[in-house]
């Protein structure tokens, strides 16, 4: 199978499509946690409880209100191979925890993979909508519609005072976690990232460098999300996150312009070297891949590199992961083999584009 055929089949819409502010915001995601009344939370669940819940959810997605919202399919974890479950994790459709729930877990997917509903993860239901670019409101509206449609068939555990009841009290109330994945190389390179992030964390939002340990970030990728779920409305939570993200975008754009004006040669050199390494290297580990891709994406955004799709960062950060590599090369790969195959896949991918590097 050619790489472009493979990508055509493997990529979800959030990986392919562009969206508002997508030079900086990779994705917007809303997750809503719900539980069914009269059942213990998954942590105490028996086999028969788990099956009943899966059956009720399956019935609910076949019902009229859900059919109006797209084509949904329920897949039980036990019907997926371990590798396919891992691919789902890498596509952000399910969590690593659900992938391990071989016996009790299931996932409902909408055919465009913008919606996934995890069943029997930490909570009975976790409705997730993921969209490309800054589309928090759209993602919340869609999650809200799906929640309403499901509720017509399912009775949620709801408390007058505490709102939607969740297994963990960090989610109680709205049960909503809104998060935005941002690419912030300008703020990192100009050294102002820590100041920004500490300011963000003071307004009730959590920031983490994605993929790194603690606050360390690979590839200048950061995830900003709400921490509080009780006492604020869903709209307030979404609006608050949106406005902070807009401010971060402004600062990032200013930082990029400063870099271009003050350190143009260094920036062009850095971007071009990273591009050269991606285009010619024979071994790439996942950390370096993300770092080089971040530089290349910055180069694309600033017009230093032309002819490479701007979606390359988002696309390759998913498709160069272990399970995807094993899917593409159709065999099990050790860590060392993966580094070799990853480099090969990146070289092949870059050849699909018609590149020019400007100096």
């Amino acid at each position: 199978m050619s790489l472009s055929d493979f990508l055509q089949r493997a990529m979800s819409r959030w990986m392919k499509d562009g969206g508002p502010e997508d030079d900086i915001v990779l994705t917007s995601r809303i997750r809503v946690a719900r539980n069914l009344q009269g059942y213990p939370f998954p942590i105490l669940q028996t086999d028969s409880h788990a099956n009943e819940i899966i059956e009720m959810v399956d019935k609910a997605i076949q019902s009229e209100p859900m059919r109006g919202l797209g084509v949904f399919e329920l897949i039980r974890c036990r019907d997926l191979s371990a590798l396919d479950r891992q691919v789902f994790v890498e596509k952000h459709l399910i969590s690593p925890d659900l992938a391990e729930q071989e016996k009790h877990g299931a996932v409902v997917l909408r055919n465009d993979e913008l919606v996934s509903i995890m069943v029997n993860e930490e909570d009975h239901l976790r409705v997730q909508c993921i969209m490309p670019g800054l589309k928090l409101k759209e993602a919340w509206e869609l999650a809200n519609q799906i929640d309403d449609a499901l509720e017509q068939k399912l009775t949620y555990a709801f408390h007058e005072k505490y709102g939607y009841l969740t297994a963990c009290p960090t989610n109680v109330g709205t049960g909503i976690r809104a998060s935005v994945m941002m690419h912030l190389p300008g703020l990192v390179l100009t050294g102002s990232i820590n100041r920004m992030l500490s300011a963000v964390s003071q307004v009730g939002l959590a920031v983490r460098g994605i993929y790194g340990e603690g606050s360390e970030s690979y590839g200048n990728l950061f995830q900003v999300s709400n921490q509080i779920t009780l006492g604020e409305t869903e709209e307030e939570i979404v609006q608050n996150l949106q406005s902070v993200v807009m401010q971060l975008i402004e600062h990032e754009r200013t930082a990029r312009q400063q870099l271009l004006q003050r350190n143009r040669i260094q920036l062009e050199d850095r971007v071009s070297r990273s591009f050269g390494i991606l285009a010619y290297a024979r071994r790439m580990d996942s950390k370096e891949t993300l770092e080089r891709l971040s530089d290349v994406r910055l180069g694309i955004d600033l017009g230093i590199i032309q002819g490479v799709s701007s979606g390359i960062l988002k696309e390759l950060m998913v498709t160069t992961q272990p399970a995807f590599l094993q899917k593409y090369f159709a065999r099990e790969l050790s860590a060392t083999e993966r580094d070799v195959r990853r480099a090969a896949l990146i070289r092949e991918r870059l050849r699909l584009d018609d590149t020019e590097v400007h100096g």
Binding site: N35, Q37, Y39, P40, F41, I43, L44, V89, H92, P96, E122, N144, D147, D148, E151, Q152, T155, Y156, A157, F158, H159, E160, K161, Y162, G163, Y164, L165, A167, C168, P169, T170, V172, T174, I176, M181, A206, R208, I210, Y211, E213, G214, Y218, Q223, I228, T229, L230, G231, E232, T233, E234, S286, K287, L290, M317, V318, Q321, P322, S334, A335, T336
Partner: protein, 172 residues
């Protein structure tokens, strides 16, 4: 280099740990690293910072510090059987009824991890009818007070009638 754990396979994973400022390093094969939980898949978001772990840390701190000398040993959810002590260990409740059965201990906890103790967001359509009615009535009453203090008596009269009609409807 051979794996320092199984002494069989070649070491491909190099682990560096900093514990209390002291740096140690060792070399493992991929399988042992996986078994030891040393491989953090660098691509999977969501694991780096686990809210639940943080929460159970907070709860344990509370029960061990003598800061809140409350007897929790006997507190147990009558529905699912989970004890409050178990909850502090795992950071998760066993069933929806735990919220009511542990309510005496829940308030201070929620004050720590959330801003407020009362839900103001969405209410389920099916089961939330009464709550929706109550919220609407409260909103009307707030608006009435506002109208009175603004000396907008015309609007206040309208609101008074609306509230009266609303209350009569819900009584019947």
């Amino acid at each position: 280099m051979i794996c320092e754990r199984c002494h069989e396979r070649p070491a491909t994973v190099h682990v560096t740990k900093i514990v209390n400022g002291e740096k140690t390093g060792y070399h493992l094969c991929e399988q042992c690293a996986k078994e030891q939980g040393e491989i953090l898949n660098p691509f999977v978001a969501g694991n780096a910072f686990d809210f639940n772990k943080l929460l159970s840390g907070l709860l344990n701190m509370e029960s061990s510090s003598g800061y809140a000398p409350v007897q929790t040993g006997n507190l147990r959810c009558a529905t699912c059987g989970m004890t409050y002590n178990q909850f502090t260990q795992i950071g998760r409740f066993g069933c929806p009824d735990c919220y009511d059965n542990f309510s005496s201990r829940l308030e201070p906890l929620l004050r720590r991890i959330q801003t407020a103790g009362t839900h103001t967001g969405k209410v389920p359509v099916k089961s939330g009818d009464q709550i929706n009615q109550q919220r609407k009535l409260e909103a009307l009453k707030r608006e009435l007070q506002q109208a009175v203090s603004n000396e907008n008596f015309e609007r206040a009269a309208e609101l008074r009638d609306e509230i009266r009609a609303f209350e009569q409807n819900s009584d019947s």
